[in-house]
Symmetry: C3
Subunit: 257 residues, 3 copies
């Protein structure tokens, strides 16, 4: 296994207004190995429990890709179903951490989002983006599918947009399209403009009623009470498919390149 699976970071900073900024990053286009995904889920959960935190901003490092999905190096090392399930549970844990966190989470998507990256953008409560924040669910191209992130994407964008992304797995959709389909609340020309708006909204929310926001959070996520189990089942589907001849061959041909 390459060094990539041991790289990456998750950092949290809480300012004097109670705005917690959580940043994840990885040198390879912010594609995330399991280790980082688990740390990200834990950090979100901790922020949810920290009474000093009023609102959370979730962002990634750098000014290129927001998140290229799961670590490809880790994917190609999967040899058995159990490892596969654990691997595909990585984004499930992040999505479930966002879902169960009683604080509102603002997403900041500065660039392309792929696979699990689209899942994160779907799982935050209010998502800002720049016009560079194109989206793609590329899983089918390697013989799997967006089974784990599917429920989060469908909940936010609807069945039609989710299935379009899942089927047409090699095509980028624009940030504008993602906004029209409910993934992003707003799309900006630059990171600078996006950050001004994020600061404004986060500051307003940090001064808003914590009880009211906690109740809002509950009503936003009604009907997802079974997602701990559902996303685990979905990880099982991907974990099974990734061992199929089709995917093994697809991955081997990637490796040769």
């Amino acid at each position: 296994m390459s060094e990539a699976v041991n790289q990456g970071h998750v950092e949290m900073h809480v300012d004097e207004f109670g705005i917690a900024t959580i940043e994840f990053g990885h040198p390879m286009s912010n594609s995330l190995p399991g280790k980082i995904l688990r740390k990200l889920a834990e950090t979100i959960t901790d922020a949810g429990k920290d009474s000093a935190v009023k609102v959370i901003v979730l962002k990634s490092a750098g000014d290129k890709a927001f998140c290229a999905g799961a670590s490809f190096d880790e994917l190609i090392s999967i040899q058995d179903l159990e490892t596969g399930k654990v691997f595909f549970s990585g984004f499930a844990q992040v999505i479930n951490a966002c879902r169960k966190c009683p604080k509102l989470i603002i997403g900041r998507v500065q660039g392309k989002a792929v696979g699990g990256g689209v899942g994160i953008a779907s799982a935050v409560d209010y998502c800002y983006a720049t016009r560079f924040a194109e989206v793609k669910l590329s899983e089918l191209a390697v013989g799997i599918g967006p089974f784990v992130v599917g429920p989060a994407v469908e909940r936010k964008m609807g069945l039609s947009a989710m299935s379009q992304l899942a089927i047409n797995a090699t095509e980028w959709r624009t940030a504008e399209w993602a906004m029209q389909n409910g993934l992003y609340a707003d799309v900006f020309d630059s990171e600078h403009e996006m950050d001004e708006e994020i600061t404004r909204l986060a500051t307003v929310l940090a001064k808003s009623s914590p009880e009211a926001m906690a109740e809002l959070k509950k009503i936003f996520w009604i009907g997802t009470e079974n997602w701990d189990q559902l996303l685990a089942e979905r990880a099982g589907i991907s974990g099974t498919l990734v061992l199929s001849d089709f995917t093994v061959n697809a991955i081997n041909s990637f490796k040769k390149k």
Copy 2:
């Protein structure tokens, strides 16, 4: 308590084609006290039972705001949970009256809609608007939330648009945005053009099969059978929050202005 809670009107007129026009109004930007909300709900219910009525047009008075939500004067007079529940049940009754009315209801939104006003626009079956019909769910700004209107807004506009409105509570969204997100079927440049189209559609529907329209109404509202109870529970959430220190302080600082 100010005089405002005793002001306002609800009127119904049925023309020779069976088109019932129901108008509500209040001198303060059509913000509605409980008394008027109850009368509006009753009038919609009565029109639903009246065999002379084939289709209903729901509108508000004047050419400015469609509806500024619930009466602020009544809100600030709430001292206990029971009064709070009754207050927040006002729009619940109107929404449930629209939902249970066996006739199709056409909405006419000539101007801004806030809070419960967005709830009414969501609860009609087909909603026309002018380009002045901006929307806002401002509840969070005073420490509560759009809990009662939430189910109606989400049913019509989807989870993403509903949560965007609920979280970004101080921002107006354009009529165009509301149309793209399913609240309005069409947006016109002027009241005149909107009224021509309303007359056309209402006239067509008044001549359409009452049995077919009653069956359509049923399928549009499948899955909302629990809303009498659900919206009462939601009124309880708001009724509790409005007594919190946060909201009491927020209201007091409004009063001082």
Copy 3:
């Protein structure tokens, strides 16, 4: 009964890549009598079982209307509830065949779609269209309603768009509008451009993992397990309404023209 109910065709061709193209047609604007609808449902079901088929393209004949709905000649011959139920079950069978087919289905909509035609466009998994592919649910104009196609249209386009189409039954909605509301994934200026893109996507999918696509198909249709029964009940609603005085009179006045 006129000759029209015995006309029409359904043809299937499978190419060397496993792309099955299913074409239906009828001389009267591709309006479909029960006989053709049953054959279309069977052909889709057979293609789903055929291991040589990797992906399905569903299209209609000619370069005018995609599908004008159910056969009007057959509709006006209905004299009793049982015949009515069978008639209205025609599109239910096609929708259910699409739903239960384990292969992904790409739709090709080259022109106007009415009633059941919109149902077919909704029931495929990924739908392409040209800018001529306007849509209308005209059922209410003859005293019935889009009860059978309603669940498919609502699943793909949402409640708001479905109810707008059902209520405003005489108005065409543009292909652009249908795309913005999730019916079409993409809209092209010409059939030629659409066909290039269909060939591209179908070729990619024919080479994709059949297991992964079968799992995707399952998650796209979660929650529709009761549609065999639901759409049969819906056919019963239409079957009852079509015998009402209102519809009998409406049909008689059409006949006189």
